[in-house]
Amino acid sequence: MSEISESSRELPGALADIRDDFLALSVSDRLQMLLEFSESLPEVPEGMVPDDAWEQVVECQSPVFIHVDTDGPRPVVYATAPQEAPTTRGFASILVHGLEGLDRDAILSVPGDFPQSLGLNEAVSFLRLRGMSGMLSRIQRQVAEAS
């Protein structure tokens, strides 16, 4: 399937595992997994990210904010999204977990079509997936600008 081949190149390990896990499931089970991701979006401790450091992902229909801490040896991705927007939370959570521990180059190498490779296109409208692309591109831009 083209949705696999386009993104299989150079996809870092954790993201490749997440993608393979999604693709191994039926469409309804993929949604269940997205829901589990939404429930596991790490809570950002109060004060961990300064208020003015958050960047809003305007492609998303809900208020979603991204911040990449680039001060340490490896970038750390933070994201917040409201409880009443579980789909968006799920997308943010996939990126937070999938990019965890990766170095700068690995984050920058993630293909822009990763969101389209998860097999969610039938279940979640294309527009919602664009929100996830908006998150990924912002993360990559923040990482690129910091170096």
């Binding site: 829901l35 789909t87 039938e122 409208s125 664009r130 929100g131």
Partner: protein, 300 residues
Amino acid sequence: MPVAADLSAELQQYAHPERLVSTQWLAENLNTPGVVVVESDEDILLYDTGHIPGSVKIDWHTELNDPVVRDYLTGEQFAELMSKKGISRDDTVVFYGDRSNWWATYALWVFSLFGHSDVRIVNGGRDKWIAEGRELTKEVPAPAPTDYPVIERDDSTLRAFKEDVLEHLGKPLVDVRSPEEYSGERTHMPAYPEEGALRGGHIPTAASVPWSKAANDDGTFKSLDELQKIYRDYHGITGDVPVIAYCRIGERSSHTWFVLRHLMGIEDVRNYDGSWTEWGSAVRVPIVQGSEPGEVPARW
């Protein structure tokens, strides 16, 4: 035997109070035979995070639309969906959802295209139910299939196509999008993804009445008196002449359609579901930019 309407005093002001139920009525009627509760949300996962006990989910994107052609289900497909959701033709279907019931009213409107007669909205929707601390469950019901008849969809009464709107120019049109979408500064909702219209602006002569004018902060509908002031007194929508409402893809205008048709009792109101994503990309249809409604062009 139809299920009795919610007789709460606050609903009796509306033209068709039987189209609304309060959260309290719903809480008391969750187990009433013949009542099916349907949740319809913008966020496809919201139902799975917790829903009103016994309710079934209907997804606007994957279940009400044809997957290929930009259109709604056929009669056969709708009958199949109803069977799957455990809905019989004479059931009372009570809709609720997120975002002040945008998708709940949209689903109700689609059901109405198939002539499902007893359809109602929970005033205040999902948010009000939750704000009141009422029960939610993650348990998904497994309804017994029903024998729903195949009904041909009626697109002539409640639905408007682009050609109908062109014919209608000069009669009341309600654009329910944000002021920025109306003026043409943007072609999509603020903070929403760009949703593919090539041109910005509005249909000539359309009045700008954002859907939210009809909703209170808690997601309930404004009082009839307030609605009359906005639509009838200020915008001259009296109901003597047919009305068409539109937005971007037909969801916010379903909310306004519900208000005009069922709360104010205007007989001839249609929803143009093609809305701006069609009009703003169509070749050689007239468009007006800016905050004024504009004139019907002499020709186009």
